[in-house]
């Protein structure tokens, strides 16, 4: 599912709607203007025609051919047969030439050059003797055409400007009125449950956004409360379980010393002991996590990371000797940090132990210390891990035996505690964890 931003969606929709509506509007507007201007030309031709016909009929002097107006006219008698066959009033969008009329041709010089745009009105009328006459009036239309071109370009330019203005205004109004929404979204994005978050400051006089703000704040507060309860519960529960677990363990040990037990019973007890060990370990880890989250490790020491890494590697290579791993250490820089030794031990120990546990037999292990970071890379026995969830508690579905599923959660909690960042990468069949001490 591809998402578009609300803003682009709104702008696109309104833009298209306005473009369509305004295109129709602009086209109609232009056509009306064209008709209006053409009618204006026709009106002047009609008036001129009427004037000449009336003067001719009244026997008055006709205007001089070269009378200063742009209109040119020619009047000639035609036969009754011709007159009755033809339309009495004809409009033409060109000059009118009659090649057969010598007299008319001789007057060519008074008309415009051939091909010049013109509008012609031909009117046939009858005089008192029943004789029909034909009056031809032409007027050049290049002025009209110039005007139409200007109107066309103006319409297009105004159309574009208007459309852009509408879209711009839309965008500004949208940004202004929707800003509380985006502020809220940003805040939600930054929000981390259980951590110290900035208070939501999002004043708005829009009712809907105010309701949204309040609802989100309420739900966040509730979530925060639940989170706190859960944490307390886990802490308390682990703490309370500790003693009974220790008692169980002791009792079982005492039980194994009973000589009356059969071989079978001893085997069962050994299995129970094994499970109990796991529960104790799990409980210890949970308790440890709670302690980290409650910030109970306040003591601080100067720790040399190189030394620590070196010691831990030699410890683990002894334990995992059977895996026959090729260990490659590259220490380019020394890293010294101020932190609690228990936490750092656990942090680096967990990452290294994971690498030893999860690499395939005969695989490769690269440990690099560079400027400000420690990188632990192991050849993977299985495929890529989910970067989003590996640091969550019990996220790994196919757990190895002896693993609590809390190791990486502890690692993440310690990193968060000191403000370190930890990155997971999967490259060329290797899991790579990088811790940045900064």
């Amino acid at each position: 599912m591809k998402y578009t931003r609300l803003k682009s969606k709104v702008l696109k929709s309104t833009g298209i709607a306005f473009a369509v509506i305004m295109s129709i509007w602009a086209a109609l507007f232009y056509l009306i203007i064209v008709e209006e201007i053409s009618d204006e030309v026709d009106d002047s031709l009609e008036d001129y025609s009427e004037m000449i016909i009336i003067r001719a009929l009244a026997g008055e002097e006709l205007p001089h051919i070269d009378n200063g107006s742009n209109n040119k006219y020619y009047i000639r008698p035609i036969t009754e047969k011709d007159a009755l066959q033809r339309h009495k009033i004809v409009y033409l969008d060109e000059m009118y030439f009659d090649e057969e009329d010598d007299d008319y041709k001789s007057k060519d010089n008074i008309f415009f050059k051939d091909g010049e745009p013109a509008r012609t009105l031909i009117t046939i009328f009858r005089d008192r003797d029943g004789q029909y006459h034909e009056l031809i009036i032409s007027t050049p239309t290049f002025e009209r055409d110039d005007l139409l071109v200007t109107v066309l370009y103006s319409t297009i330019i105004l159309f574009i400007i208007l459309l852009l203005t509408i879209i711009l205004v839309n965008a500004l109004v949208f940004r202004k009125s929707m800003s509380p929404l985006y502020k809220l979204l940003d805040w939600l994005n930054d929000y981390r449950p259980g951590e110290k978050n900035n208070p939501l400051i999002n004043d708005t006089n829009i009712e809907e956004f105010d309701i949204l703000n309040k609802t989100v704040e309420k739900s966040i507060n509730r979530q925060e409360e639940l989170f706190e309860h859960q944490r307390e519960f886990i802490g308390n529960a682990s703490h309370e379980i500790q003693t009974p677990l220790a008692i169980c363990k002791n009792r079982l040990e005492i039980l194994t010393e009973d000589e009356n037990l059969t071989e079978q019973s001893l085997e069962q007890i050994a299995r129970i002991q094994q499970s109990l060990e796991y529960i104790i370990k799990l409980n210890r880890s949970l308790l440890f996590l709670t302690k980290i989250e409650n910030r109970q490790f306040t003591e601080s020491h100067t720790i040399d990371v190189d030394n620590l890494v070196d010691n831990l590697i030699s410890d683990y290579s002894e334990i995992f000797e059977h895996k026959a791993l090729a260990i490659n250490k590259v220490f380019n820089k020394t890293i010294t940090i101020e932190a609690n030794d228990v936490l750092i031990n656990s942090l680096i120990g967990n990452v290294l132990r994971n690498a030893f546990i999860h690499s395939n037999a005969g695989g490769k292990l690269d440990i690099t210390i560079a400027d400000k970071y420690l990188s632990v890379s192991n050849s993977a026995a299985d495929g890529e891990l989910n970067e989003e969830t590996i640091f969550e508690r019990f996220s790994n579905n196919n757990k190895k035996e002896g693993s609590t599923g809390l190791g990486l959660a502890i690692v993440k909690a310690i990193c968060d505690y000191y403000g370190y960042s930890i990155k997971y990468e999967y490259k060329h069949g290797n899991h790579i964890f990088k811790i940045f001490f900064a």
């Binding site: 009495k88 969008d93 319409t155």
Partner: protein
Amino acid sequence: MRRFIISAIIISASAMGLKAQDSNSVSLASKLREMPVSYALRDEDKPVDENELPAKAIEFIKANFPDSKIALAKYDWELFGGSYDVILVDGTKIEFDKYGEWRETDCKFGEVPVSVIPEEIATYVKDKYATEKIVKIERQKNGYEIKLSNKVELKFNKSFKLIGFDD
């Protein structure tokens, strides 16, 4: 943005198309005989035969201009009521509304027949402008307007009282 340019092109193209249509080259002779298509679209004047005029208009002409024939009659289309323009062979132009009621009689180079002019106005002109002729009379909703041969224009209301003067 592309969309806007396309719409602009469509508009200009349709405009060009219209112009191209205007100047198609059908032979002139056939154009002169055929009914132009564009009468309805543009308000071009349409020729009218004598028998197509409203009966009232024909009556008016016969009663007041018994000796004159029609030189040319046309219908001028307008959005709200067109008009008939009739030019008689003596150069008189008469305008009728679409029901055949006359609105204007213009005898620029002659004299408006007395039969057309309301008696009160004729008397008024005879009194005040004995030497002048009435060359044009307009009949409007709320009165009359006349033009004399000395270019003086007089306006009368419905009860033939002079309400305007223009020379």
